[in-house]
Symmetry: C2
Subunit: 188 residues, 2 copies
């Protein structure tokens, strides 16, 4: 007999996702989202920093898994980051292709959302680099290994969500990592 329905945050995120798909991000008002969730606009802003955050709910999980994976392994820095992304692929993205595609098409429709997505990736990168530095690596090595790993993930991810793709994300990551090595290896 709670006074409020449970999981206000989850309901808002779900309402936002639906509305963004139905009318588009720009055409959806925070008041609309709150209304569909049976809440007030002000409540929305207490649970989310801004309208965009509603679409990025749950992204912290990704950072946690990544940092943990990178910290635990004993492999070389670049290999560690790539392996960590492979683990993320298994633990978080498996069986979510359709969901991810829907999300991606929403993001593609709005410059604001693209900026936010980029920022999430950037702070995630910073977290991973910090984890590598905590293992004793130099600033530069940590940054390069992390960014290269993120590059691999980014490219693999793009292939994964492409309309005609059918390989698993983890396999794509492995392939792309190999290609990256080939491209950067020979000075000529």
């Amino acid at each position: 007999m709670a006074r409020w329905q449970p999981d206000a945050r989850g309901r808002l995120a779900a309402a936002a996702f639906e509305l963004f798909r139905e009318r588009g991000f720009e055409q959806t008002t925070v008041t609309d989202i709150a209304a569909r969730a049976g809440l007030d606009k002000r409540t929305f802003y207490r649970l989310f920093g801004d309208k965009r955050e509603a679409l990025f709910s749950g992204g912290e999980q990704l950072e946690e898994v990544l940092v943990e994976a990178v910290t635990e392994t004993a492999a070389g820095p670049f290999e560690a980051v790539v392996a960590a992304f492979r683990r993320v692929a298994d633990e978080i993205f498996t069986d979510r292709l359709e969901l991810v595609r829907m999300r991606q098409s929403i993001i593609a429709s709005s410059a604001e959302l693209q900026e936010r997505e980029l920022r999430k990736m950037s702070s995630l990168t910073a977290a991973v680099a910090a984890a590598l530095r905590a293992k004793g690596l130099s600033e530069t090595t940590a940054a390069l290994a992390t960014e290269s790993g993120v590059t691999v993930f980014r490219v693999a991810y793009a292939r994964w969500i492409a309309p005609d793709s059918d390989a698993s994300l983890a396999d794509l990551i492995t392939d792309v990592a190999t290609e990256l090595r080939a491209i950067t290896s020979a000075p000529n």
Copy 2:
């Protein structure tokens, strides 16, 4: 005897830069900027898409130089992108360290500005990758070479603007590229 002072856009960009430094980005209103430039708020929005753009005025130049440099060279893809960034370092960043540092400190103070900066970098990356694809490279190769080159630039740039740094940006780029090769080369 012009009816209006010349270079409204330049005056607005300058006024914005000053005000962002004086009071900070968030504390500066578009109306403030326009007032200092002797113009109206509405005129600001005709010349800039939003408040942030005033700080990124002139960034198109970077993309032009990069794309041209990448297109003209005959080197391997990764080397081509790195060389292009070296050229940018010479043509655009030389003798601008202090200016760049001021700009960077403004950006660092605002999440919104960081997002915009990321987006600029991202669209620049897309342009370079497109230039590589136009040379006949595969989607994946173009993306990996470009992103790796951008990684090198990013890390070198960070070192360059660090308080205690004194090396040239072009030299830093060369060094960092070598380090990237070392990190990604050996699978073990």
